[in-house]
């Protein structure tokens, strides 16, 4: 017995010791000197001081500090580490950057300083040189859903008094599917063909009709990230202008904020049926004392709030839903009309009335059977669809339903021969239906009757 107790204590102490020594990825990291941007002289070494720290309540952690080539995601131009095998460009500084230690142990709340040394060869050449210092957890986590944090330190060196070339080429212009109620996405890919990075690239997309008349011009916001030599970044510009049937020319122009044009490229698109763009995002302040109606300028969505629907002044917005809808239940098909209503976190005190104009493509989803169309509401927090009792107006082409809550909405074609997720407002998949309540009630009555008999 004594042996068993001693063994037990030893095991517990051993376990606690292992726990105290364990190193987990820490969900907080701070890096000082998180961007190295220098004008450098050939044949010179540069010492750049950096530091890494964590919070006092963090667990001990090991952080790896590694030098990579400078990569970029085509989607948005995020900076990413590039392995040596993929980093063969003349503008790589991977071999020029050395950190003191490739592994740093950080105790809770500790700050550790270290240096990054940049050795610029005498024959470095012209333009810019690029690398990434990746500071990341050295070990994997063991939580069910765990978090880790990492920092990418961009190293951007410009060789002093050298010839800087800032040029680019458009390698592709692609136009996405043309769907009523969704923006037409024009994706333009720009490759930096020069020897130096540039910031603030702007994508201008112009759409002209068959007669050469301009019908839409979109100027996207300037890219906040630099475009690095050898890297390609795709810029997405949404076009939301009505287009009648015809063939259109889409011209993309990539330029710097200074106005310098890096490249232009064109493609054509065929619009086979009149294109209806998404409605304009709209908002309205709803007050408890007054009835209010929120209607988008295009008139396709109207939400009527009765007096007393909200308990305090609330700003409600309605905007097009352009993402992929959550998975629908079996037998249901989404039309193209989808929108999100934000601003209301709880339930309404009185039901609001939602009226939506359905499109021909919504009707296509129902295979032309208008009786199948309903308004569907996806409750993000409860994570399920509710199909609302919906009134269809054939003449006005509208669907109307009442609701006491808002979230993501869509026009749904519901195959009523299959089990629906919910058929009535206020009932959820987890709630017992009227039949279940009736059966439960009868069961209780029978049990009470037996009790009385006894």
């Amino acid at each position: 017995m004594q042996y068993n107790t001693r063994t037990g204590f030893s095991l517990i102490i051993g376990f606690l010791l292992i726990l105290s020594l364990a190193v987990f990825p820490v969900a907080a990291v701070k890096v000082e000197g998180a961007k190295i941007m220098l004008d450098v002289k050939p044949g010179t070494n540069y010492i750049f001081p950096m530091a890494i720290s964590t919070k006092p309540d963090d667990t001990p952690a090991d952080y790896a500090i590694e030098v990579y080539g400078f990569g970029q995601s085509s989607d948005g131009g995020s900076y990413s580490p590039l392995f040596a095998a993929d980093d063969a460009g003349a503008c790589s500084a991977r071999g020029m950057v050395v950190v003191e230690s490739s592994l740093i142990h950080i105790d809770p709340g500790q700050r550790k300083a270290f240096n990054a040394t940049i050795r610029v060869p005498a024959n470095v050449g012209d333009g810019g040189r690029y690398a990434i210092i990746h500071i990341h957890p050295a070990s994997a986590g063991n939580q069910q859903t765990g978090f880790a944090t990492a920092i990418i330190v961009p190293v951007m060196l410009t060789v002093k008094d050298s010839k800087l070339i800032e040029t680019g080429i458009i390698t592709g212009v692609d136009v996405g599917e043309i769907v009523a109620g969704k923006p037409i996405t024009v994706s333009t890919t720009l490759k930096n063909t020069g020897n130096h990075h540039y910031y603030g690239v702007v994508n201008q997309v112009a759409v002209t009709d068959p007669a050469g008349k301009s019908v839409a011009t979109v100027i996207a916001n300037a890219l906040p990230n630099a475009v690095i030599p050898g890297q390609s970044v795709t810029f997405v510009a949404p076009v939301s202008k009505p287009l009648s049937v015809g063939v259109y020319t889409v011209k993309s122009t990539m330029m710097l904020e200074s106005g310098t044009v890096l490249g232009t490229s064109s493609t054509s698109i065929a619009v086979k049926e009149a294109y209806i763009p998404p409605f304009t995002e709209s908002g309205k302040k709803i007050s408890p004392d007054n009835q209010a109606t929120l209607m988008v300028p295009e008139g396709t969505i109207t939400i009527s709030f009765p007096q007393g629907a909200v308990l305090s002044d609330t700003m409600v917005t309605v905007k097009p839903y352009t993402g992929t809808l959550p998975v629908l239940p079996p037998g249901a098909t989404a039309g193209t009309t989808a929108f999100a209503v934000d601003g209301l976190s709880g339930l309404l005190a009185k039901d609001a009335t939602v009226t939506v104009k359905y499109t021909r493509m919504d009707l296509d989803a129902a295979k032309g059977d208008i009786s199948k169309l309903v308004l569907g509401r996806y409750d993000r927090s409860e994570n399920h669809w509710t199909f609302l009792p919906t009134t269809v107006d054939n003449n006005a082409m509208t669907l109307t339903a009442t609701t006491n809550r808002f979230s993501t909405w869509a026009v749904i074609a519901e195959d009523k021969t299959q089990a629906a997720p919910q058929a009535a407002e206020g009932l959820t998949a987890k709630s017992p239906g009227p039949d279940a309540l009736l059966v439960s009630g009868l069961t209780i009555l029978v049990m009470m009757a037996r009790k009385v008999k006894e």
Binding site: S78, R380, S381
Partner: protein
Amino acid sequence: MKYLYYAGLVALMVLFCLPAGVSAATTDTVVVSGSIGGSLSVDVTPDAGVSWGAMSGTKTDLTSADLTVVTTYPAWHVDAADAKTTNKGYMVDATAGKLTNAFHISNNGGSVWTAMTGSLNNFAQKTTAGAGTWPFDIGLQQVISGTDPAGSNYQITVTFTGAAS
């Protein structure tokens, strides 16, 4: 001997008194700055992660996890990804293997979910005037299929990587 000792001491004191700014030495080595300029901090809570207990149905959590970025840089971005290469984007149990459906995260309150089989670039981003403290909600979602084998220890670690632009 004593003379040499004092000379060395004086030389050391002179070294300590050198200004901390940019200084070029005869060896062509430049110390860029004596004090470190910008900083970037990425913090995700809760530190212990989020536990969902038994895995069944659809697990959605829009409120438990938060990202906080504290920085002096005006433009920056934070990407989110599963760092592992095998079964990237899936919750994995050492015995039962991976779940059928990928793990998803959302940066807009659950309006749009992104599978962690890829990365969610610009989960958080500031393009101008980004210096300061910025909190963001993290939405988490895992759909469990009826065919997924029972496993007591399905796990995933999502790494949030920050970078100054």
